[in-house]
C-alpha cells in the first residue's frame, strides 16, 4: 500500500470513530439540570398569565421551552397524587401558573403554605386554562 493511501485510511478511521463517539454522547445527553440552568426570563406570575390571556400565539413565541423564573403567591399546593403541583395566582383571578415540581424538590414543598410568596424556575410548555411550567425548582 502506498504511504498516502495508508495515511488517508488512518485519517478516515479516526474521523469515523470521532463522529461515532460524538453521536453516542449526543444520544445519551442528559436533560438540563434545572438547578444549574440560568433563567432566560424573569417575570411576576400575573404578568405571565396576562401575556398568555391577551395573545396566546405571541406569548408562545416568547415563552415556549424557555427557562422562566416566576414570582407569585401560592394559592394551592397539590401533593396528594404522584405529581406535585404548586399553583401561583392572584386570589380573584381565573387561571394561574401551574408549576409541576421536579421530584428532587419534593422535600422542600412540605415547608410551603398557601398565601406565601415564592420564586420558582421551570420550563414553560404553554397555556391551557393556566400557564404550565414543568420540571420546576424552588429558588430560595
Amino acid at each position: 500500500m502506498k504511504k498516502t493511501t495508508k495515511i488517508t485510511l488512518l485519517f478516515l478511521i479516526l474521523l469515523i470513530s470521532l463522529v461515532t463517539i460524538r453521536l453516542v454522547f449526543l444520544y445519551h445527553q442528559p436533560h438540563k439540570d434545572m438547578t444549574q440552568e440560568i433563567a432566560s426570563i424573569k417575570i411576576a406570575s400575573e404578568d405571565l398569565l396576562k401575556d398568555f390571556q391577551e395573545d396566546e400565539s405571541l406569548a408562545n413565541t416568547i415563552y415556549l421551552e424557555q427557562i422562566t423564573q416566576v414570582q407569585g403567591t401560592i394559592t394551592a399546593i397539590e401533593n396528594n397524587t404522584e405529581e406535585v403541583v404548586i399553583v401561583l395566582s392572584e386570589p380573584d383571578s381565573f387561571g394561574g401558573i401551574r408549576c409541576h415540581i421536579s421530584p428532587e424538590e419534593y422535600t422542600k414543598v412540605s415547608a410551603l403554605t398557601t398565601g406565601q410568596q415564592i420564586t420558582i424556575k421551570g420550563i414553560c410548555t404553554g397555556y391551557l386554562m393556566d400557564v404550565v411550567l414543568v420540571r420546576c425548582v424552588l429558588i430560595p
Partner: protein, 181 residues
Amino acid sequence: MKFFLITLCFVFCIKTIEAQDKFLTKKGQISFFSSASAEDIKADNKQVLSIINSSTGDIAIAILMKSFMFQKSLMQEHFNENYVESDKYPKAIFKGRITDFETISSTNTSTTVVGDITIHGVTKALSITTNIKRTNDQILLMGNFPISLADFDIKIPSVVINNIAETVDVRFELAHELYTK
C-alpha cells in the same frame, strides 16, 4: 323588588346547576409508546386538561405537545422540532362525546368515545373503546388506542426508520373531579 329577587334566585340556581355540570382534570396523564426494531420509546404527559359536561356527556381534551417528557433529551428535541413541530402546533385537541353517558355508574364499564382529534394541524375522526366509572365527585376515564403517524402527516426520515414505529400506542388516564369553582 319581588321580580328582582326571583330573577336573582333564578340566576343563582342556573349558576349552581352549571357548576355541577362540569368534571375537570388539569393533571390527566397521556403516554405514548413506540416499539420499533432498534429501540422502544416512551413519553409521558401529566399536564393534560380534560373537561366533561356531565349533562350531555361531551368531552374536550387539550394537550401541550411540549409537555411530553422523554427519557432522553435528544428524543424530546427531535419529537418537538422535527416530528410534531410543536412551535407551529403547540397543542393536540380532542373534542367528542361519551356514548351512553347516562348509564355510567360507579362500577367500571366499557363505553365508546367518539369525536375529532387534532394533532400536528391535522384533524381526524376517532372512535375508541374506553373504561369509565363515575361516582358523585369523580369520573375516571382510561384506555388506549393506536395512532398512525402518517395519518397526521408526521414524517419520519428514513435514517431513523428502524427507531420509530409507524403506529404508536397512546394510553390515557383521566381522573376528572367535580368542578366547584
